[in-house]
């Protein structure tokens, strides 16, 4: 849906790892989005179509807006397609523009090409984050990288 609206984003997190061959499971989709004015308009249109709302522990229903999405924060959303984390930056403040050189284009569906954060950078990002949930998958990501290099 994001790609269909021509929003600029980079797929990161577990799904990015799966696309590159890491046999892990994840229930949400993580993207780092471009915060350019044009792309924010497209992203917002996609999120409206997806009926996105913040995952609010208090149960309030709040939709993302352009001003919020322009921040470098993390927007943890629920959509009719499932959980979607829209991230202004990751790691040590890396933005869409910072990460762009570390992405690879991949076809996720026929005719649908997305930019995916490469495995090396994904590993670096998870190391830098240092959270238990990030560290837990590092061994699989490192082995995946090793096996890919052998091929």
């Amino acid at each position: 849906m994001l790609a269909a609206h021509d929003a600029e984003f980079i797929l990161v997190g577990g799904v990015a790892a799966v696309l590159q061959g890491a046999p892990i499971s994840t229930f949400d989709l993580d993207v780092v989005h471009s915060r350019s004015t044009t792309s924010l308009d497209r992203l917002l249109a996609a999120l409206e179509t997806l009926e996105a709302r913040y995952r609010d522990p208090a149960g309030r229903r709040r939709a993302p807006d352009k001003a919020l999405l322009a921040s470098d924060g993390h927007h943890l959303l629920m959509t009719r397609a499932g959980p979607l984390d829209v991230l202004g930056t990751i790691g040590q403040g890396s933005s869409y523009e910072d990460l762009l050189a570390h992405t690879i284009p991949m076809e996720t569906d026929p005719g649908v090409r997305v930019r995916v954060l490469d495995l090396e950078t994904l590993i670096e990002t998870k190391q830098a984050a240092g959270r238990d949930k990030d560290l837990a998958v590092l061994a699989v990501l490192r082995r995946t990288l090793e096996e890919r290099k052998k091929r």
Binding site: V18, L19, P23, S25, M106, E107, D109, A139, E147
Partner: protein, 54 residues
């Protein structure tokens, strides 16, 4: 007498990663990997739904 090493590759890495699973997953295309993930999520959600409906 020379003892031959087992020629079959290890099934797990030293840090416990299942290499058989990993190597199989790498034979798939990105779209196929995504499909496996989606099927897995659907299965888990289905099982969870079955549990909560009891």
């Amino acid at each position: 007498m020379k003892i031959e090493n087992d020629p079959s590759p290890p099934t797990h890495s030293e840090d416990g990663v299942d290499l058989t699973l990993l190597r199989w997953f790498l034979t798939l295309t990105p779209a196929e990997r995504l499909q496996v993930l989606q099927d897995h999520i659907a299965s888990v959600l289905s099982m969870r739904g079955d549990e909560t409906s009891d």
